[in-house]
Symmetry: C2
Subunit: 311 residues, 2 copies
């Protein structure tokens, strides 16, 4: 099944304890698309400026991502974000945000993008997310992200969009903020109550947790001794998750569990190098080896305890 993603395409300037980059390819649709491209055909919907060059397009081409719906504004500049991390890699410090052509982004979907069976609404204005969702009437499974800024400034619009999708993939702080509920377990149940099939809570170095009507599943993060650059990890997770779902015949709880693990696998690669470098160069044996590592590090035999000597 094909998969469409709508979201930002950007240049990032990054500084982490491990180094610095003045300008790398970034953006939610980029990280998501690259990650998902290992699993399925991806249509990316976004906007870039005239400064978006062949080196950048090449990344998309290498991964056979359909960029017909990435609009080019020749006299505009691409969305630019600059951020730094200190040793607590869970928190990004924004140094500069220049929305540029992204400020007036109006997603324009070709029939090919509209007809995708799966749709991911990356973090953009909630009303735009809902508008895109309604354009993709035949989508079988639609997931969305959002962010603290929209939750604090227009929670009602965020909730309206949630009611129009099948799955939300957000981090723990956002789940708490959305529901005013400190327990992520209660928060996730409340969000499921909007009619979703699945709520996925991203917990950074602690992994990810999946809530469905009947199920609960949790996967750790991969135990990396050094996280090099966490930018885009959440979108890379979502790309692995949705890409894996798109490659399956059916979406049920068992498949959603494996999708969480593949999402975690892809995110674990993303943070090993700056920007898109690591995922850009990935291959299938590496992906499957890490998937196996996740199995190894969480497996235990289901042997109930029986006391041999009665007390």
């Amino acid at each position: 099944m094909s998969l469409t993603v709508v979201g930002s395409v950007a240049f990032d300037a990054l500084e982490t304890p491990f180094g610095k980059r003045e300008r790398v390819l970034g953006g939610a649709a980029t990280h998501f698309g690259l990650s998902a491209s290992f699993f399925t055909e991806v249509n990316a919907v976004g906007v870039v400026g005239g400064d978006f060059g062949e080196a950048e397009w090449d990344v998309f081409r290498r991964h056979h991502i359909n960029t017909d719906d990435i609009e080019v504004v020749p006299d505009g500049r691409t969305f630019f974000w600059s951020g730094s991390y200190d040793y607590d890699m869970n928190t990004a410090h924004t140094l500069d945000t220049q929305l540029n052509v992204f400020e007036t982004f109006q997603p324009k979907l070709s029939d090919r993008s509209k007809n995708a069976k799966l749709l991911f609404l990356a973090n953009i204005l909630p009303a735009l997310q809902k508008d895109v969702r309604l354009q993709c009437a035949d989508a079988r499974f639609v997931a969305m992200d959002t962010m603290n800024f929209w939750i604090s400034s227009m929670k009602d619009a965020v909730i309206e969009t949630i009611k129009a999708v099948d799955c939300i993939i957000i981090n723990d702080a956002e789940a708490r903020q959305l529901t005013d509920e400190p327990s992520i377990y209660k928060a996730a149940r409340l969000i499921l109550g909007y009619g979703l099939r699945a709520v996925v809570i991203k917990r950074g170095e602690y992994g990810a947790t999946l809530f469905t009507k009947d199920g609960y599943f949790t996967t750790p993060a991969y135990p990396l001794e050094s996280v090099f650059d966490p930018t885009g990890a959440g979108d890379t997770f979502a790309g692995g998750f949705m890409g894996y779902l798109a490659a399956q015949n059916d979406i049920n709880d068992e498949v959603l569990r494996r999708a969480c693990v593949y999402g975690s696998v892809m995110a674990s690669f993303n943070v090993e190098k700056f920007g898109t470098e690591r995922v850009d160069g990935l291959d299938y044996p590496e992906i499957n080896q890490r998937f196996r590592d996740f199995k190894l590090m969480t497996h235990f035999d289901d042997i109930p305890f029986e006391r041999s000597v009665a007390v």
Copy 2:
């Protein structure tokens, strides 16, 4: 195999967002012993004052814990700790500590306690831990806890004790403090380097992680919507972990993994009520049901990804 625990027996005064108790049975050896008693025979080594009453002894008796080595100082008072928690249940705020008879605690081990095949050194002065460890020459598997106070005031003594045991069970902040290493993965490898067979890092609401020479295993915490009182959760974890090991014929990586899960199972019950109330009233079907829940919430099928359409 029998199991000896050396540590505090105490009265606790507790205040959490869910209620208040003026005086409940507590202490590391108590929480550990109760938890372990579901799996094996336990000898408890500690000290109490004349204020330790029949109601308290009854808790130990109900669980067939050998209390011969709990010394009674008739004109002394039992160790008393008073603490409170706010909604972030990960942090206890100490309101009062009265060491009382525990201040001059000198563990005295009967032959029965000395001959136990497993030994747990709960959080006491590192030199006393080492002394007890040397008295139990035949112990096949010895584990220890410690705390930030000893690590900051006598790190060398803590390390000397670590070198004399097989396993350490500490929380993530303590692992970082012990090694001056922010990554718990690097910290655990450094601690393993002291010659341990296993390092278990307790991560509160995020579960527990086991490091061995060849293996890595992580289990989440049980998803409780409300944590009622976290006091003693770490010792209850250690009790389930060591108790389960004591009930097995062999201690290998697979068994250590299940021990982590049984530890997490027991800790998840401990926090559901004040003090020892919940674990005191547990039964085997409940324990095995929750163990099965841990399996259900972490299981996924090991199916590597194969892309059906070549790109």
